[in-house]
Subunit: 219 residues, 2 copies
DNA sequence: TTATATATTTAAGTTCGCTTAAATTTATAA
DNA sequence: TTATAAATTTAAGCGAACTTAAATATATAA
């Protein structure tokens, strides 16, 4: 393919598929920060090239080829992130944007060599699994968003959504990192916000933020 | 700038300046493998943006800013090459093309971290010096092209032009690598080709190839 | 069910970096 | 010096990926 734009569309589609494996043009447009009209345009091309199943006014699906492509981009992205964080020491809230650029400029050969150099990491610095050469994604632990926890639940942070602007730097500020233990103290009915203990300090986070932090329940 | 095309123009200009510090549109077009008309077009933009001194029908010069920019791209390029070769083990005849893509997708921050990780290499895998953060290029040994050698001269290979298609893989085949010792046996007046000893074997190379291999005379 | 809001597509237009063809300028050689 | 060749620029046009505005289809709520 070798087309930055199309690669970005496929990745964005894959990242945002709903439970039915579909995504609406509208959502895609907002994720890519472009107009709906541009999306319609590109969908025709992606459809013509066999990467998406697309019919006017219907939800967008990926074809097998499209999904493979998207997973390969995700693989590139996450392997770069590991390299930037682990080898170069770049903070986890900066690697996403850098990897976003690198992923389009690296052959599979580089990626495979990098993977070997990094000793086959299983997850990226935000806890997301890295697809293998064949697009296979190892089933990871079952995680739930913090919003799913109940009062007095104790849990360990496994994954934080890196695709939401500024979320990571905010989350870092309030003391959250991978592996950190949290205890839910209270859940506010009113706005869905969650009061938790982190490092013996009380922290309140909004529902929206809580829904992007994934944890493993302890006991 | 953040514009792949303009970055490529500046790098190509810098790489191919003549003794007077100029380059002709025609040569630039052929290096970039595009039409002369496209070059004229882009020169106007680069001139408008203050990267080149350009007047119709005259040779092209870089401004101070343009030169800095070009050297920074060269820095990125060469640091990536060192990483690919030294850390990932990619052969020296493949790193150029890969670095060509990566150089446009990496912030200065990544490059600086990489440089540190690589322990401040002075040359790339083909023997070219790496400009520092400020664009300063360390003066390296005085080298001459093999074409400048005389019969019975012994010399050590210091640098091979990585910007010529397929040159490196050819040169590798005939046993040349950095640091290798060569002895000039004969120079053919007729076509300028050079007969040399490499690893106790006689090898004849054309004038064109000899002019792209740079050596340090021994005694 | 119908009115209205929202999502999607179509139409027309823009910028970028290219192309080919024609016009013009500069270089070269008889 | 002048004819011719080569280099350069101008002109017109193209495809890609976007935009805004208008048209149309779908979803939602009274």
């Amino acid at each position: 393919m070798d087309n930055v734009s199309q690669e970005d569309y496929l990745t964005a589609i894959y990242r945002n598929l709903d439970e039915a494996g579909e995504i609406k043009p509208n959502l895609l447009a907002s994720k890519l920060e472009i107009s709906n009209a541009a999306v319609t345009d590109m969908l025709r091309k992606l459809s013509r090239d066999g990467f998406v199943d697309y019919q006017k006014y219907k939800g967008i699906k990926l074809t097998g080829e499209g999904e493979l492509y998207a997973k390969n981009m995700l693989r590139r992205h996450r392997i770069w992130e590991v390299f930037l964080h682990q080898t170069l020491g770049m903070p986890w809230d900066k690697v996403h944007d850098e990897a976003e650029k690198l992923e389009h400029s690296s052959s599979d050969e580089i990626i495979n060599l990098l993977e070997e150099f990094l000793e086959y990491p299983e997850v990226d610095p935000h806890g997301y699994p890295i697809p293998d050469k064949n697009g296979k994604i190892k089933k990871s632990k079952t995680v739930v968003a913090i919003t799913e926890l109940n009062e007095n639940d104790t849990a360990k942070v496994i994954r934080v959504n890196d695709d939401v602007k500024n979320l990571l730097s905010y989350v870092t500020k309030i003391g959250i990192s991978l592996g950190k233990e949290i205890i839910v103290k209270d859940k506010l009915e009113y706005d869905g916000s969650v009061l938790m203990m982190i490092d013996r300090k009380e922290v309140n986070i909004s529902n929206k933020i809580a829904s992007n932090i994934f944890v493993e329940k302890i006991k």
